[in-house]
């Protein structure tokens, strides 16, 4: 539960209780009361969500009930066929992907999956990919190019996994090469930050033609906690770091580092997953049409130029 959503949650609990009571006593008419409370919830959500602080945004972005990669795939992709393995060392379920149909078009889709239940979270390593994940991503991108399929990537990671084996097997090289591959494949490439866009682990699959952020997702060079412990010398200053890092979707758009924002339903994606995914789907479709109209050589040139121009007009 998010602390700032507590009043909302209390009201929601009350409604549940009222319903229980009324079902026992059929003579009671509670619909008016429930309507009144639901209106209050709406007002509360609007007032809370219209002025979320950056630190609160980080919490929303990390909400466990937020739609994850698998939810998007289930709703957006037909005939999804997951593909596994980097063909070099192993399979990494922190970054998964495969082929399927998006609005009738064949595509490659990949992204981080954090998992929800404990065992699932462990299996997906909390969405923190190892080199094998980034090498599988390279494999999928190359395959997309080979079969002329657009690429959709969904970013949701705290960052690349900091482990002994990951370092041994070249985490740096895997990320660097993955970025290089993003910037080399001649096929339309759309990336959406759906939750956390954590540093190198995120950009590794997000150097795309179009990069969108969900309204309450965050994108940052370092976690606010990490930044606070280095610059403030204590993780207690994570709130200050969240503000200083300018990691919200509005800041990112203002800085010219992303292409657009996808509005979330009132109260955040975790309240209305289906609606969130639908909006994302519409945005991707719209953008895909635009990109498909471009000649391929132009596409790559534009992609490179977009990144080269970043920060030049600030």
């Amino acid at each position: 539960m998010l602390d700032f959503e507590k009043p909302v949650l209390e009201l929601e609990n009350k409604i549940v209780e009222l319903r229980k009571v009324s079902s026992n006593d059929s003579g009671m008419n509670i619909s008016e009361e429930i309507d009144r409370m639901q209106n209050k919830i709406q007002r509360l959500l609007v007032s809370t969500y219209s002025k979320l602080t950056p630190a609160q945004r980080v919490k929303v972005a990390r909400h466990p009930q937020r739609p994850h990669f698998k939810d998007y795939v289930e709703q957006m992709i037909e005939d999804f066929t997951p593909l596994a393995g980097d063909r070099q060392f192993g399979e990494d379920e922190a970054l998964i992907g495969g082929i399927g149909r998006f609005e009738g078009q064949s595509v490659v889709i990949m992204g981080h999956e954090k998992g929800r239940e404990t065992n699932e979270r462990i299996r997906h390593n909390f969405g923190m990919a190892r080199p094998e994940g980034y090498r599988k991503a390279q494999r999928l991108m190359r395959m997309a190019e080979q079969f002329d399929l657009p690429i959709i990537s969904l970013v949701d990671t705290a960052g690349a996994y900091p482990g002994l084996g990951a370092e041994e097997r070249g985490q740096s090289e895997a990320i660097a090469r993955s970025i290089e591959t993003c910037l080399s494949v001649e096929t339309p490439f759309i990336s959406v930050i759906i939750g956390e866009g954590g540093s190198g682990g995120a950009i590794a699959i997000a150097a795309a033609d179009k990069v969108f952020m969900l309204e309450h997702s965050v994108y940052s060079v370092i976690s606010p906690e990490g930044c606070a412990s280095i610059l403030w010398r204590s993780a207690d200053y994570a709130q200050d770091a969240s503000s200083a890092l300018k990691l919200t979707s509005e800041d990112m758009l203002k800085l010219g580092l992303i292409d657009d924002i996808i509005k979330e339903p009132m109260g955040g994606a975790h309240r209305q997953a289906e609606k969130t995914i639908k909006r994302t789907q519409t945005k991707i479709l719209e953008s895909l049409r635009e990109l498909k109209a471009l000649p391929r050589d132009k596409l790559l040139e534009q992609r490179e130029q977009k990144f080269l121009d970043m920060g030049r007009n600030l």
Partner: protein, 352 residues
């Protein structure tokens, strides 16, 4: 290993030099073996401990001196970038941190781009300055690398980047993160133009710097004992709660794990890089007629390289040469944007 030079000299000095007219920093202590090194010796020995061969962080200007032939190079001016676009403030303002670093280093930011000859081959070098905010990579550093790469392409010169950096510059937020794709685009264009792109990994190369341009070179060289890795040692230890091997994330460890080609001692950098560049750019390939003279020794490499170059420029007026360069640059640009470069194209442009 000389006991007398290690201990007696500093002591004598502390007795004799009571009046304090001698600066404190005449003697340096090696962080590895605790041996004392006289500052002039340190300078002469390229900031390598003569007791234990520990490679200390070398000031960036000295770094360029030892890399280029005859310590001769010229500085390339770099474009200005937006200063503190985030208005970042932690315990201290970012603008103040910049000011402090500028006063301390007398440099604008954490990178210097230089051109000169290495092994006779005209080369562009982008070297990090670790003394400037830990060599962290923000927009200025990124723009420096983009400039260096563009210069390399337009002059048909190899590019060498020498990172010495803790990673991205947090004070520039996601803008510093975007330097990862930006620098990769820059170095990709050098490679696509058929020009060698070398990385000389020095202590330290970590985080967003190691996970971008630093790991996609044609050839990766590293100085002995440098720390090279993605995540910090402490973070890893806290995550996995296991002891890490002693040589974890060192240059030698990276060679063992297939990420670095060679560990090269500082004193050999100029000659080793010179040889590599002259081979890759085919500088010393004898003409068909003088095929008997194939065994060019390393010592003749320099002069030979220079000769080839001067021969080429003979009979060309400056204008013609410039025009040609511009034309070629255009062709390269076309080639790199038009389509994925074909192997043939690469070879062709490398041969020209």
């Amino acid at each position: 290993m000389n006991w007398i030079s290690n201990y007696i000299r500093p002591k004598i000095q502390s007795i004799v030099g009571e009046q304090k007219d001698v600066p404190d920093n005449l003697w340096h202590k090696c962080p590895e073996c605790d041996g004392m090194i006289f500052h002039r010796e340190l300078q002469e020995n390229m900031h390598v401990c003569h007791h234990c061969n520990y490679h200390m962080i070398i000031p960036v200007l000295d770094r360029l001196d030892i890399l280029f032939d005859g310590a001769t190079w010229t500085r390339v001016s770099l474009p200005a970038v937006a200063e503190d676009p985030l208005k970042f403030k932690d315990k201290k303002k970012y603008t103040d941190r910049l000011k402090d670093s500028r006063t301390k280093t007398k440099e604008k930011d954490a990178i210097i781009v230089a051109e000169g000859r290495i092994g006779g081959v005209h080369t562009i070098v982008a070297a990090f300055n670790f003394k400037f905010m830990g060599g962290s990579m923000g927009a200025a550093v990124g723009e420096g690398i983009v400039t260096a790469a563009e210069l390399a392409v337009s002059k048909k010169a190899p590019l060498i980047i020498v990172p010495a950096s803790g990673g991205a510059r947090m004070q520039e937020g996601a803008l510093s993160l975007m330097q990862m794709p930006r620098t990769i685009i820059a170095t990709k264009r050098v490679k696509e133009a058929g020009l060698p792109y070398l990385v000389l990994l020095t202590h330290p190369t970590t985080g967003g710097v190691s996970a971008s341009f630093a790991m996609v070179g044609d050839i990766h060289l590293a100085e002995p004992g440098a720390t090279i890795g993605f995540a910090g040692k402490r973070v890893i230890q806290e995550t996995i709660r296991e002891e890490l091997p002693d040589d974890f994330q060192t240059s030698e460890y990276l060679v063992e794990h297939g990420m670095v080609d060679r560990v090269v001692e500082r004193k050999n950098l100029n000659s080793e890089i010179g040889t590599i560049l002259s081979i890759l750019t085919k500088q010393d390939e004898p003409a068909e007629s003088e095929s008997g003279n194939t065994k060019a020794s390393a010592s003749t490499t320099k002069s030979k390289g220079k000769k080839t170059k001067s021969k080429k420029s003979k009979g060309e007026t400056g204008n013609v040469k410039n025009f040609e360069t511009a034309q070629k640059a255009k062709q390269i640009k076309k080639a790199s944007s038009a389509a994925k470069p074909k192997a043939g194209q690469r070879v062709a442009s490398a041969r020209k």
